[in-house]
Symmetry: C3
Subunit: 413 residues, 3 copies
């Protein structure tokens, strides 16, 4: 072998299936994951193949590609997919690999074109992927059977989800579970006000585990804790909850909470949740001062003093306020690096600078995610220690445990 391995400061393994199975089977309940789940290369391969390449993944919002030929790229695990609006206004997810010699076709993050032309030898594709032209090919060359490969794509209330799997989980389950809850926000007519990607030097599971629990909110997120009752366990009374839910109905919002996630989902990858909880008095949305940061969304008629945690599939999360929605997506980049991509949606007719200020809108979840990045990276360093021993999870980490339990089953060989 003529290769240099970059040294890693802790230990790393490449476990075989039997060893992974044993690790999964012997995992103690309500306990953090063993080191190997963060440092084993074969487990990481399973993470990609058994979870990410089989799950619905948030790709973007329809408002990002309003016109025919508009496209943006969705990238994951070395794959690049062109999300493009076709001549018939459908949304296609085309693999960004030329059928000739494999070049990338679209090279920038987004663009608009009536045909997709490979810059290498000029092979030209229709917006639905069919090969339209290839110059100077032999007479025997039959272009009719050649097209860019496609992956599955679904749109839920304007949010575009893709799935690399051959037979993905039914998206109808998710659609049926959430459409009614989400409808009044009218996200299909919303628009992207801001989008930001945070690079995190940590295995993706440390990021999802962090997102899944609010045990760390009080010590680590004073900005969030000020307005959101979730940060203090048992802090809000049933009475306050009831009060907010009554106002929700009056404001046109669903007062239902639904949660069919992880092992409770109706099939692998068909996770969905819409869970409401009160904000503290004086707070009507997620912002620095608790006051409105954008016009009310869709059919929402007033601020009800509540907020909502949303989950769509295993690794896409969102927070819905009355005036904006924050969409989270966590993706692995390598064993030791992941990305957190955040999209802020506002009312489609709102104008930046007039109806909302981007800085103010994004403030809370930018400051919170920046803090989480630091926390997750400190966690990543610690779990590589030869002295790391997974500790007990608190009640406030129940969702993290739900995730871990599901994860262990999902990657079990």
């Amino acid at each position: 072998m003529t290769w240099l391995l970059i040294a890693f400061d802790g230990k790393e393994t490449a476990l075989n299936k039997r060893a992974i199975t044993k690790l999964v089977n012997t995992h103690p309940p309500k306990t953090a994951l063993d080191q190997a789940f963060y440092t084993d290369v074969d487990i990481y391969t399973r993470d990609i193949e058994e979870i990410y390449l089989k799950s619905w993944l948030y790709a973007g919002h329809v408002s990002e590609i309003p016109a025919i030929g508009d496209w943006f790229l969705f990238e994951l695990a070395g794959e690049s997919v062109i999300i493009v609006r076709s001549d018939t206004h459908e949304i296609n997810a085309l693999v960004n690999v030329c059928r000739h010699r494999g070049s990338r076709i679209c090279l920038t993050a987004r663009g608009c074109a009536r045909k997709l032309i490979c810059g290498y030898h000029g092979w030209t594709y229709e917006l639905d992927g069919r090969l339209r032209n290839a110059a100077h090919m032999q007479k025997t060359f039959d272009k009719s059977g050649i097209a860019l490969k496609k992956i599955h794509v679904e749109v839920l209330e304007g949010m575009i989800y893709v799935n690399f799997g051959a037979r993905p989980a039914s998206f109808e389950v998710i659609r049926n579970g959430l459409t009614e809850c989400l409808r009044s926000y009218r996200l299909d007519t919303a628009k992207v006000a801001h989008r930001q990607t945070y690079s995190i030097d940590a295995n993706w599971k440390l990021a999802v585990e962090n997102y899944s629990e609010c045990y760390h909110c009080a010590p680590a997120h004073p900005e969030y804790t000020r307005g959101h009752s979730l940060a203090k366990p048992g802090a809000h009374s049933e009475a306050l909850m009831e009060e907010v839910m009554q106002r929700a109905s009056a404001c046109g919002l669903s007062d239902k909470s639904v949660s069919r996630i992880y092992l409770d989902a109706e099939g692998f990858g068909a996770d969905y949740a819409y869970e409401r909880y009160p904000m503290w008095q004086g707070h009507i949305t997620g912002s620095e001062d608790g006051q409105a940061v954008a016009p009310l969304l869709g059919d929402v008629s007033d601020y009800d003093g509540g907020t909502t945690d949303i989950q769509i599939g295993p690794v896409n999360f969102a927070l819905a306020y009355c005036d904006h929605v924050v969409i989270y997506r966590f993706t692995p980049v390598s064993l030791d690096r992941s990305e957190c991509d955040i999209t802020w949606l506002v009312n489609g007719s709102a104008e930046e600078g007039k109806d909302y200020d981007k800085e103010r809108l994004a403030w809370l979840w930018d400051v919170t995610t920046t803090a989480d990045k630091r926390i997750i990276e400190s966690n990543a360093k610690g779990i590589k220690s030869r002295y790391y021993k997974p500790g007990p999870l608190a009640h406030m980490e129940d969702y993290t445990w739900k995730f871990i339990s599901w994860y262990l089953r999902a990657i079990k060989p």
Copy 2:
């Protein structure tokens, strides 16, 4: 194991010999290479050992080391070789590794010295590699048998070629095949006007495949396509070709085209080619406006309206115009990175600023190589996709297929 593998966004393999043999044996004709040839670490090792360490490689030009003691370094695959002009004006290729504790001896890209002195413990070598002095060694130490190791070196018309192999292909075959064609350019008296290295984030074969075909010229290289008839298949008439060749003879240039490359070579690594084709009217050399950029080379008496593609060994290429020669060398740096090194030669008596302008001289092949770098890197990203499937090669990619056919045989275990 205590190592961190840097995650790669596609799949990578380390195939055994049987698997590599099977891949080679089942490769379909006139088709791009399978993904594994770009992403497999054991295949990359074979690329280095079976091809690069056994091939003649362009190292530089005699004008770079005119005086006794002048040297420059040639580096490849972790090896560093001192190309030095000896006390008897011969050119030696000495391995840049001290025989004491292995330190590099020459640390800069080029220099001049009467003795080669290791900066660590002062061991001192003659310009032919013999150890001259080692201070404070035991009395029993016999320095007479100790010398820097040498690799093979040959000079063809002033161009220096080295070969790491124990029994390299006969350079005489190449010399016999090309001397007559090249002689009138008098490259032995030419000089290096410019030299530039382009780092390409791609496996080296993607770079060579790109160089080998002009199917991409029309879509990707308008600057080249303007003047060079090769960019349009069947575009130039036999009559035009004949006309140019007649002028060639009158200008003192060879009108012969020879090509014994890859599987047609007279033995592994003994590739040579000198192939002429017309430029379009109004173009007399490879430049932005088609007009002269330097004085005529050597014994060339006028511009004949033609140009020449040259190949010397499997991975060294050149383009000869009447007023300058452009030498290309492609070298692997890692599985995923390569270098393209370009040297521009002009008439040895030409003066920069007076007889030629470096920017104007280098313009065409700089702009073309910069575009190719982008193209090759886009290709490299695409071929790593799980969805990549090698496509059919066009007639205009026949030379790429010649390269691939030879390559497959060369690395077959």
Copy 3:
């Protein structure tokens, strides 16, 4: 496998135990190490596990943490250890990994705190490591048995040493061997005047081998060679040595030379040495002009014209002058990278700017280490060559051979 290995420009191996044993057993005497010892990943793993995780390592000086709660981090091989002064003024070495979910607790290089609080979920520890508080845990949670893990720590004349091993070599052997020799310097009351880390792109053994011999001093270190007689073999007379030693006694310094290192040590890792040699006339300390750079240390009453090489454990070295002490520590960072950490100690009552100038104080060993970094990195490049062959060691490299002999036995499977 879905991993990218970064290509390495030479060859690399992952040898099994039998192959490593054979390499060790067949190593020729008084010869540099074989290439594999610098490029084999499994040998590097043994280096870490059999040597670094079992050796006493210099962590810092007591003057860096004078008050209760003062701490600094010691980091090696992915481990981070909090060196902290406890409520009872003891020095503890606590593993910087929270017992809950494994986060790092201390995130900066140094600090001061009455309690150690994990920033993730607020778990709070005493300065001796005991868990004091964990919010919102289940009633059944018993915190009494939970504490940060500890590693061994010892203090010798104010210098703090740590050891990751379960049963480390007796530090008493080292203490007994050196206390008398070191006492007059009163390093327990000294202070850190300067500390600097040099990153070296080379396997750690190339750095230690370089430090171990003065064969390279004359060719490579004119600044050192000016004042230190060690640079010229047999240069100083017995008479000069005797003279200096007599002055040493008069100045309150030990005139003893002791050396129980490597295979001569009283057990693995219990190395110690205190070896004196004369400086050339006109030089009274290690500085640019040979003149004093700080007030005399501790109980030293005058400059005796000598200097001292010290070793404590296998990889910690020091140089003692009458007015300052320079402490060296070499640590591996990866197979191909290491760090050289240097601490300059001066009299505890000396004031910077008044009694000493930091630039002047650090000049000699900064200029020497900067040169060594370059030398070692050139060595690292050369030994990766396919043409590298370990050469014979000179008499002046006897200490390097002592190190190599010990090293081979230490990592032998």
